[in-house]
């Protein structure tokens, strides 16, 4: 079939000059577009410009307040002990720093509910980039056997939101690929490259009431360090609770409402998938990253198991190749006795299935501070 369209008939030679002229006009404009966009994106989100007015009561906001408060906190010497962790890290720095001075160390915490070891690594990198600020870092673990769960920590997209203000272009090489699902890898990659995608919801809320947001962010930036430091914990308890671990039954006191009973039941007796070592692999990787960050710095990394439940569950046979047991032999790594906090596993000291209440947190803080003092010895700096 004979073609009758000049798409395929016009001689190439006729077009060369046009092509050159076109290139001269088009490419500078494309380059200008890319540069302008990169400049706008960079100024807004790759500096502290926007992260300082992010909604304080949000995932990113909480994390940024914690990190900024800790970075700003005066550290006259290196006798500083910093706790990282999630909501079960029950250290109350005020209790050990003010009520019971004498350890010789100043305690601080950047623990935040919902965070994971991946978040802890990047948080530590942010508050201690040269690994010279602290005598010790305290890192919690839930279970030395590290069973797999359906809530696989590696797949938590929220980690990206906690860390977005702290992730840098160089993290494109690692952070996204620590997620397993391809979709999350893409979301994380795009998020670090173009942070606006992660800040989107926050930005739209900001547009609704920009002045009120700025005022709120300033207020939190000024005052939140005191609020966090003064936090004392929850006053209620699960007193009267009895757990039959063998038959997986719980007897509740009458004060506990029905919906909380279900929550407690589900938390204490979760359905677990067959253990394929995914959790252990994940923890090995991120504990390894933290250890690598502090290698040779003289900072002790103190790993400890948090109180597990309102009554002590029976011990499962130890998983000898768990990450926590394997790192115990590394230099400057200290794994505290697994049963150190068993004495706190009492319903009077818990306010829900996993979290210590005020007396529980205070007791926890004293035990931890004394143990840290024992491990570190007298202050050296």
């Amino acid at each position: 079939m004979a073609a009758n369209s000049p798409i395929d008939l016009a001689p190439a030679a006729e077009r060369t000059p046009v092509h050159t002229a076109q290139t001269r006009r088009v490419w500078p404009r494309l380059l200008a577009a890319i540069l302008c966009f990169a400049a706008l994106e960079g100024i807004l989100f790759h500096t502290t410009f926007y992260s300082e007015i992010v909604e304080p009561d949000s995932t990113t906001g909480y994390m940024e307040l914690q990190l900024r408060n800790e970075i700003r906190r005066p550290k006259p010497n290196r006798n500083q002990v910093l706790a990282v962790g999630h909501s079960r890290m029950a250290l109350l720095p005020r209790v050990v720093n003010q009520e019971k001075p004498g350890t010789g160390y100043t305690f601080a915490s950047i623990g935040l509910g919902g965070t994971t070891p991946r978040v802890w690594y990047y948080s530590l990198r942010a508050v201690d980039p040269t690994a010279r600020n602290y005598a010790a870092i305290v890192i919690p673990t839930d279970d030395f056997n590290e069973p797999d769960t359906y809530d696989y920590q590696s797949e938590r997209e929220s980690d990206l939101h906690y860390l977005i203000a702290r992730l840098k272009f160089r993290d494109l090489l690692e952070f996204p690929w620590t997620y397993r699902p391809k979709k999350l890898q893409w979301v994380a990659f795009r998020g670090i490259l173009l942070k606006g995608f992660v800040y989107k919801r926050d930005f739209l809320e900001f547009l609704d009431h920009p002045l009120a947001r700025i005022a709120k962010a300033r207020y939190y930036a000024t005052d939140s360090a005191g609020w966090y430091y003064g936090y004392g914990g929850v006053d209620t308890s699960l007193a009267g609770l009895q757990i039959d671990w063998r038959h997986k039954t719980i007897r509740f006191s009458e004060r506990i409402p029905e919906n909380e009973r279900h929550q407690i039941q589900d938390t204490l007796f979760p359905t677990l998938p067959p253990d394929q070592g995914l959790e252990t692999a994940y923890l090995r990787y991120w504990y390894g990253k933290i250890i690598e960050h502090y290698r040779g710095s003289g900072t002790k990394l103190i790993f400890m198991r948090v109180p597990r439940a309102p009554t002590s569950p029976p011990d499962a046979p130890p998983k000898l190749d768990s990450a926590i047991r394997q790192i115990a032999s590394q230099p400057d790594v200290v794994v505290l006795d697994e049963h150190l906090f068993d004495q706190l596993e009492h319903p009077d000291l818990f306010w829900d299935a996993q979290h210590l209440n005020r007396p529980g947190m205070e007791a926890f803080s004293h035990i931890l501070a004394n143990e840290v003092r024992r491990v570190l010895g007298p202050p050296k700096f």
Binding site: M1, A3, N4, S5, P6, D8, E41, G196
Partner: protein, 465 residues
Amino acid sequence: MLFNTPQFFAFLAIVLTLFYTAPRGLRKYILLAASYFFYMSFIPKFILLLLSLTAIDYTAARWIAWTHSPRSRKSALVISLAANLGLLGFFKYYNFFAANVAHLLHKPSDAFALSIILPLGISFHTFQSMSYVIDVYRREQEPITNPIDYALFISFFPQLVAGPIVRAREFFGDLYHWKRPSSDDVLRGLLLLLLGLAKKMVMADQFAQIANGYFADVSKHTGMVPAWSAVIAFGIQIYFDFSGYTDMAIGMAKLLGFHFPVNFRRPYLASSITDFWHRWHISLSRWLRDYLYIPLGGNRHGRLQTYRNLMLTMLLGGLWHGASWNFVVWGGYHGALLSVERAFRRENAPVESRWTALHPLQAVITFALVMIGWVFFRAATFHDSLYVLHQMLFVPHGHILIPAWLTDLALMTLLLALLEEKREWFEKVALGPAWAYGAVCAVLLLAVELIGYTEAAVPFVYFQF
């Protein structure tokens, strides 16, 4: 593969690369293959329908041009129209017809219903194909001898699924006198592509959240304030959705060396309903004028005939949008408004009023009338339409549904529309200094990134037509 997805942009990049690096003899085949691939990325089996219609209309046009017998010419035309309208009627209107028959026979509405999926873009490519065959029949268009060229005309991916409805002489003019796009066209094309994406994701998809929330259950909100705000949200959604799609289609065509007609010219600045239809979905209005309104007699046989022709054209135009009485009412409503305007307009008065002190008031009234029409277009049922209209006109309370930042955004786009109307900023930016081009592109990109709705790729509204 929607225009507003990363997959589509990857597809477009591959097509552009192949098109401009392939030997010239292969280029139109690349475009055709890409167009069929694009179409099959939605529902592959409907490619058979597209191929069949292409073959029928190509053959019919060749037959019309070849034969000298008026009877044969007419037969070929009728066969072509019957094939197009028959398939369009079956896929789009069968269930509507069946439901009405069932209603008349007091049977359940789904008594005669079939499970039919509407082939993507059927309303657009059948109209485009019919216009070609009719033009050949009228001897206004030479028949296309090369079936590849004709297949490309029907399936060209930038406008395959939602227009603009391109006339054969425009498309083949570009194809047969194809020139590598000038740098101005490349710059215009890229800017249009970006502008269209921003219109869709920033404006249309955000306002859709409000309109969808309201129209999902209209009884949840009472009062004229939520009703007006939801209807205005829908008015903004559908304009930015459709014109965004069109901008992207025109932009892509420019990058490939083709020139599509303008489809929207700031319709919400119109000073009358007549003016509105000169600015809204222009390629469809033009089609309806040339192949329906004028053949019906247009305005050549007195006022009453003109009103009848306007009503018929708009009723069918309404029905073209979808198979429901709501669309018929919407078309009839516009037909009635056009007739009323016609009745009060002086003969030979210009449709587009000059910008006078009265223009803003006229534009506001026109806007309000168009919004009232959108109620029928958007509401799920006729009953819902009446309920919303009642709320809009007679229930004076309620809370505005549009958040402040979206209102600000809408006002900014209104300002941009006014500036384009009076100062043509788009052309100045497209052909202006590099910094201005770069800055506007950067702002559009940032808007897509920050404000664009990215929870999911939302299909374009007109894909369903």
